[in-house]
């Protein structure tokens, strides 16, 4: 294979699932390219990626705040009412002396998801305003290191499992935060899984290349 220079490597894509090499082709707006070996989506083209991403990440932040402020689940057991919120889940671990589990949980269900959403907001607004060539690079690197550690969707399933265990012992009422958390998880999954990080890198390259040429 012959290449003009290192920049030409940007027209190649390696599938993240099976490591097959592909040549990048220009796509129509809103369509996607799939791996010919395993049919995984390689990248998509969205001409308004920054706007869409920014809108989605701000919505995600609103739902994250809602999910943390209000009770997730309320139960009635032997005439007593109890409820939990997301922060209460890991604070009660601290109170019982389980510091290690408490810290791990606090990071996985609170700190990392919050940081990821904030990072998306900052990155997309930087790209929207066409500023911060260096900052956006550093933030994108940080983002890809953080994203495997956010476990909101697993926490959501855990709530359901815990509630099924309680059926028969207590009366269960779903709180506002539970639905907010569900919306947050859907938005978070869209942001981290459907929008590939390489699409944001491509967008960044398109923006700042144009600037250099002018």
């Amino acid at each position: 294979m012959k290449l003009e220079n290192e920049e030409a490597l940007d027209h190649l894509v390696i599938c993240h699932k099976c490591h097959t090499l592909h040549q990048e082709i220009p796509l129509e707006d809103g369509s996607k390219a799939c791996c010919r070996n395993c049919k995984t989506v390689l990248y998509r083209y969205d001409s308004r990626l920054a706007e869409h991403g920014l809108a989605l990440s701000i919505t995600a932040l609103v739902f994250f705040v809602l999910a943390n402020l209000f009770p997730l689940v309320k139960i009635e057991i032997l005439g007593h009412e109890q409820f939990i919120t997301i922060p209460k889940t890991f604070f009660s671990l601290f109170e019982n002396g389980f510091y290690i589990v408490g810290i791990i949980c606090a990071f996985m269900i609170f700190v990392f998801p919050l940081m990821i959403v904030l990072l998306y907001i900052v990155i997309f607004s930087l790209l929207k305003m066409k500023k911060g060539k260096k900052a956006s690079k550093e933030l994108l690197i940080l983002l890809s290191h953080l994203s495997p550690w956010s476990m909101m969707e697993i926490f959501l399933v855990s709530i359901l499992v815990a509630l099924v265990k309680l059926i028969g012992y207590a009366q269960i009422h779903m709180g506002v935060a539970f639905w907010a958390l569900m919306v947050f998880v859907l938005l978070d999954l869209y942001l981290t899984r459907t929008i590939h990080i390489s699409e944001i890198w491509m967008l960044r390259k398109r923006l700042f290349l144009k600037e250099e040429r002018q």
Binding site: C38, N96, V101, L140, V157, I197
Partner: protein, 199 residues
């Protein structure tokens, strides 16, 4: 003009850019992260994390995960005990989820990582038929789901907090959380580039 072979191209683990393999020290041209390639590097870290995780998994199964204090009497249940209890109560789907999340997935992950780490240094017999990139991808996708049990314990402990009935997390919760944490670290420090060298 540069001429490269297809096998010489590698994918940056951080930003997914395609790079040319330049020997010992590869640095991604887009984000500047190191792409490890050197044979004697990087498996040690992964081994260390994996062994720690396996050691932590032993107390996680021996000690109680969940302690129920009911009207003065205390009873603890281990991970497997909890699964059996749920099965006997008739909640089969939940028993199956917990069984998969806290027993099948961790052990499967240990085996896959052990296999990948060994086969990177000493190629095993029928290696070429297995797509190791897909195996690695599998561990990355299913790995975090073993945290379900820890979260369930945390939720129950926070929720059931009455004068007569109380649920407290057990020693195994710490051990299990650490075990999952270290397997995740082992998987992340494992360099997928090493797979390619023996294909």
């Amino acid at each position: 003009m540069i001429e490269v072979k297809e096998e010489e191209l590698l994918r940056c683990p951080v930003c997914e850019a395609v790079n040319i393999d330049k020997g010992k020290k590869n640095v991604c041209r887009r984000c500047g992260s190191a792409i490890y390639k050197h044979k004697h590097f990087q498996t040690e870290k992964s081994w260390a994390f994996l062994i720690t995780a396996i050691i932590a998994y032993i107390p996680a199964n021996l000690y109680p995960m969940l302690i129920t204090k009911q009207f003065g009497s205390t009873s603890g249940s281990t991970i497997l005990g909890g699964v059996i209890l749920l099965w006997e109560h008739g909640s089969y789907p939940i028993a199956a989820i917990i069984f998969f999340a806290s027993i099948v997935i961790p052990i499967l992950k240990f085996i896959i990582l052990l296999y990948l780490l060994i086969s990177v240094k000493y190629p095993l017999g029928k290696d070429r038929r297995v797509n190791k990139h897909k195996l690695y991808y599998l561990t990355e996708i299913v790995g975090p789901w073993s945290m379900i049990d820890v979260f369930v314990v945390a939720i129950l402990a926070a929720l059931i907090h009455l004068a007569n009935i109380e649920i407290v997390a057990g020693t195994a919760a710490t051990a299990f959380a650490l075990s999952v944490f270290f397997t995740l670290l082992a998987a992340h420090t494992f360099d997928t580039r090493l797979i390619k060298e023996h294909r």
